[in-house]
Structure formats: structure tokens, C-alpha cells
Point group: C2
Chain length 341, copies 2
């Protein structure tokens, strides 16, 4: 007798059409926003009146962005949408529609696909995103989840990276370093789940980042921020990008950084410099933003409405071209950012 | 001394940012349509007033959709955009914006990336598509070009698959079977270029399909067609999809099919049934559409404006649920379509 494992259906048992129908059956009915949804040559959507459209695409590639030993199929689906929604939030916009492009190894268990789609739809419900369509094809190599998300924003509320100016304060949402520490723990243990709640939170931050949709939209709506970017490739990278696009330098105070306490403990335990690891580590989907002095009242309003999400002053944009990290009274060059290439 | 080949730069010599900058430098300046283009967290576009938005995504995966021995990097870039533009045309819409998501093997020569982007921009210029953004990541396996295209269409001009009804005539643009014959020739010869002009045309149709943008938009604008779909997965599949979505059957006349003459000769030479191979073969980016009898005047107008592109009556939608192919006076079941899975 074969083991049940050998009998479990895999995605190549179904054709492309059957897989599309399987997903279509689980996607909530297309609202009036979407006259044509999954299943035609293309989707048709009603644009938001008076709003600009925001578009972004980001892929999760097995062996580059995730390891199936460390992330469940549901985590992968969830994160693939979360990282795109984060890019929309960083523009001050609200996410609206998603396209899901799947490249599936033929031997992927059908149950894994179902769970992946489940995780994707969980994030879609949280972000109020309508799944408009997508594509499914075979992959001769890695599992790949490539996602496109559109969003909407009023013209005067767009938050680009290039609106900063010397003298403006730099803030970051939430805590940094958690995702890098969580991934470090997973690699050290070959998977699993830490007993300590703090470390478990770090692992969860790697597996299921929470895009800062509410604060991103508020920063745009209130025009508290002059420039904004998400931390997908780490804080060091984000500070460098915002400064470069704005034509400024930047200085960040290492002692002010909101490093996740369990991450700091993990870095100490493994002999890693916590500040360096936290600014260089990727996968923190927090927002970095610049605030002009005249907008401090607006920022106070955002902080009050942030429902407990920390918003921390970490430094400022400078006239000088350098991007520096202040530590123990000395300013050193900001470490290199994180690169998935 | 190393051979020059060993010294040629590869994509992993550059980081993600440098690769993005390299592409950004070649993309035509963002028009007023696109206040924020490549290089921020997301692109920002001005929607077309009074138009619905059309969205589609389609990926070309090495080893599934193309073989680097048979298609140049420029061909791959060109086709990746062409197949998406074809989906937009099949909705009666005009393409507007594209997002280019690249998954690159680290050892891909930088010159190959440059050529791929060149081919993509060539199609973008032909289709009047603005490149709004994208993503670049490493691939631990195949080269993958995943593309999202948005388009615009007036509300009453949307062409879906489900608008057909029994008694309506079925038409197809251009010629079929060419791409399948071209791929057959390439496989038989391990690459290269046929001496015979007809076969060279077939190979070119596999490498660089021409989306039927003009006729698709005209079919929507004139409302000549009640249902429409492109032939990405072959005519057999398209007829089945349109009939199924419209709740009809269909009968196609094998003798009426506009099979490319050089493709017919190639199929004959290789002992393949030309009709079966032509309806089952994928990668024909022609349009299949249904026309109600009352719209024949409108169709005549489309034919007159089609600039020599053939538009051929091949059958009709029927009340009976079956999808049939008429050959030598007998009706047989339509062969299975093409599947990339």
C-alpha cells in the first residue's frame, strides 16, 4: 500500500483552468467596483473618482525571500500581499485591487496551494483589497508568488521619497530588527517556533509582516509627512533612499532606534551588534518618514490616532550629503542596506 | 588569459538599485499621465476620465514558455509585453501602463538584460504603453518575465467572453498555426532560422507575436462583437471558453480555418494533421469573436479599417452544448486546447 502522502493530489493533477476555478470559488464576490473579475482575458474595474491610481508589484521567490521550512504556505500567501500593500501605504494611499501571479512547482501539494491562497485572502480581507485576477503557470524551479496591487490616493496626498528637506525630523513606526532576529532564530534552529513570547513575535514578524496601512494613509491625508518609504530593505537603505531622492544628507541616532527588545536580546546572545543588525536587516515593513517642523501639530494628530503603534523620532535630514549613524557620540557611515539580489 | 566571455559582466555584479537605475535610464520620460514613475515605493498614474480600467498579468517562464536557444533576450522582452497587450485588446480596450517584474538568474549576462529591456521597450513603443514601474529580484532557477498591463475602455465597449448567443457567427483574425509550426521547426533544428520565408514568418510568430490592438479596440468601439477572447492557448481552447462563458455550444468548420500556408506545409511534412495542430497549438495571439447577425454592418466597417488583416468566418455559436469541429462533412469533438501547465 502507498502511504497517504503519495496519494495526496498535487497541482499538476489539475489543469490551469481547474486551478483558476478552484481559486475563483474562494474569492469573495466581485463588488460593484469590479464589473469583470477572475476568469476573463483581463479584469475590469471602476476607478475611484477624483483619485490618482497607485501601482506596485513585488515578488516572493522561494530560496530568495522565503524558505518553505520556515514559512507555511499560508504565511507565504499572506506576506506576498502584505509587502505590496506596504508599498501602497508608503505612498499615503489605500490599497484597492490585487492580481495574484503564481508560478507553481508541479509537485506542490494541492493543499499547500489552498493554504497559500487562504493566507493571501486573509491579508486581502485585512487590507480591504479585492482580488481582481491573476495568472497561474508551472515553475520548473522555485515556488514564486508575484503580486500587483493598485491603490487610490487624492492628488495632494501622495507621499513620495523626494519631498524631504534639510532640518526635517525623521520618524519610524513600530519596532525594527524583529524580522531579522526572527529569521536568524529560524536559521539557527532549522525551523520551529521559539518558546519565548518575544522571540516568537520576531519569528511572526518575519513570517507575517503587518503593513502600516492606517498610519500610511493618515500621513498622506493629514500631510504630516513630506517624504515616506517603507522599510522592506531595512532602515539603513530607507534612510539612504529618502535622503538621496530628497537631495539631502541624514543623521540617525543609534540610541533612539526602537529596536525590538527580544531582537536586541537575540543579537546580543549571538554576538551581533544589535544596532547594525537592526538597521541593515530587511523585512521590517515599518514606515520611515520626514516631518517638517511646521507639521508637528499634524503629526501629533497622527500619533493620537495610531492606536498604540509607536512613532519614534530617530534623527533628521541634513544639508550635508552624508548618511550617518550617531553612536556613542561619534557619527559613522550608515551600514549598507539589505539586498535580495 | 581569460576569454572575453568570462569577463562579460553579469547581473549579479550590479545590485538591485543599480539594475533599476539602468532600466530607468532607458524608459522614456514619464508623461503627464504618470506623476510618479520608476524608483519610488509605487507608481502614481492619472486615470483616464470616464473610462473603466482593465488589468491583466501574464508571465513568461524559461523552460515553460520559452527556450533561450530559440528566443533572443529581445524576443523574450518583446513577447512578455505583447501577450499582456493582447489580453487588453481582447477586452476591447487600449493598453496604457505596464509593470515589469523580472526574476533574473545571477549569471545572466548584463547585455542579455539590456537586450531584454530593449525588446520590452520596442513593444511598449508599438503599443503606446508607458512603463510605470516594476520589480527586480534574483531567481535561483529560471529566467522569468512577469508583466502587468493596465488599459482603458469606455463602459459600454467592454468585450467579455460571456456575451455570445446561439446563432451568432464566429470570426478569427489573421492566421492560425504559425506559432506552433515555428516552434516545431525550432525544436526539430535546435534553433536557427529557416531559409524559406514562410517558415521564417512562422518562427517569427512564435518569437514575436503581434497583439491585435487595433482590431480589438475597434471591435469594442463599434460594438460589432458580442464576445471576444485572444488565442493565447489556441483556437480550440478559445472557442471552448467563449461557448462555456456564453452558455452555448459551438461548431467550427475545419475547411474554413485560416491556417498559415507555410504552417500547413510544415505540418504535412512532419506527418501532423494541420487542422488539429492549428486549433490545439498555443501562442497564436489572434482574436476570436462572436458577431450577432444585426451587427454585420458594423463588422464590415471593422474589416474595412483592419489594414489588410484577415478576418475570417470560421463557424457559429449553437444552442446545443457541444463544441464541435466539422471536417469532411462530419462533426467531431473539438481537440483539447493547449496548456502551459
Amino acid at each position: 500500500m502507498s502511504s497517504p502522502g503519495n496519494l495526496a493530489p498535487v497541482v499538476s493533477d489539475l489543469g490551469e483552468r481547474a486551478l483558476i476555478e478552484r481559486i475563483r470559488g474562494r474569492v469573495p464576490a466581485a463588488p460593484s467596483l469590479l464589473p469583470v473579475g477572475i476568469g476573463d482575458d483581463a479584469a475590469v474595474a471602476v476607478p475611484d473618482r477624483g483619485e490618482l491610481q497607485v501601482l506596485t508589484t513585488d515578488a516572493l521567490v522561494e530560496g530568495v525571500h522565503f524558505d518553505r521550512r520556515f514559512s507555511s504556505p499560508a504565511d507565504i500567501g499572506y506576506k506576498a500581499l502584505a509587502v505590496n500593500a506596504s508599498d501602497i501605504a508608503a505612498m499615503g494611499a489605500a490599497p484597492r485591487l490585487a492580481l495574484l501571479s503564481l508560478m507553481l512547482p508541479p509537485a506542490l501539494p494541492l493543499s499547500d496551494l489552498d493554504e497559500l491562497v487562504g493566507g493571501f485572502l486573509e491579508m486581502a480581507a485585512e487590507a480591504r483589497v479585492t482580488v481582481a485576477g491573476g495568472n497561474i503557470t508551472r515553475s520548473p524551479g522555485p515556488l514564486i508568488v508575484d503580486v500587483t496591487v493598485t491603490g487610490a490616493v487624492r492628488p495632494r496626498r501622495v507621499l513620495t521619497r523626494d519631498g524631504g528637506a534639510a532640518g526635517q525630523a525623521l520618524f519610524v513606526t513600530g519596532q525594527i530588527g524583529a524580522a531579522a532576529a526572527g529569521l536568524g532564530w529560524l536559521r539557527a534552529h532549522g525551523g520551529g517556533r521559539p518558546d519565548q513570547p518575544g522571540l516568537a513575535e520576531c519569528v511572526a514578524r518575519h513570517q507575517r509582516p503587518e503593513p502600516r496601512l492606517r498610519v500610511g494613509a493618515m500621513l498622506g491625508r493629514t500631510r504630516a509627512a513630506s517624504a515616506c518609504m517603507d522599510l522592506s530593505d531595512g532602515l539603513a537603505d530607507a534612510v539612504r533612499q529618502v535622503a538621496s531622492a530628497s537631495g539631502t544628507g541624514a543623521v540617525v541616532d543609534g540610541a533612539a532606534l526602537p529596536i525590538h527588545p527580544a531582537a536586541a536580546a537575540w543579537f546580543a546572545e549571538t554576538g551581533t551588534d544589535a544596532v547594525e543588525a537592526s538597521v541593515a536587516g530587511g523585512d521590517d515593513y515599518e514606515l520611515l518618514f520626514a516631518v517638517p517642523k511646521r507639521s508637528s501639530g499634524r503629526l501629533r494628530h497622527v500619533v493620537q490616532q495610531a492606536r498604540g503603534l509607536a512613532i519614534t523620532l530617530i534623527g533628521e535630514l541634513t544639508a550635508d550629503g552624508g548618511v550617518l549613524l550617531r553612536r556613542d557620540g561619534r557619527a559613522v557611515a550608515m551600514p549598507a542596506g539589505f539586498s535580495h539580489f
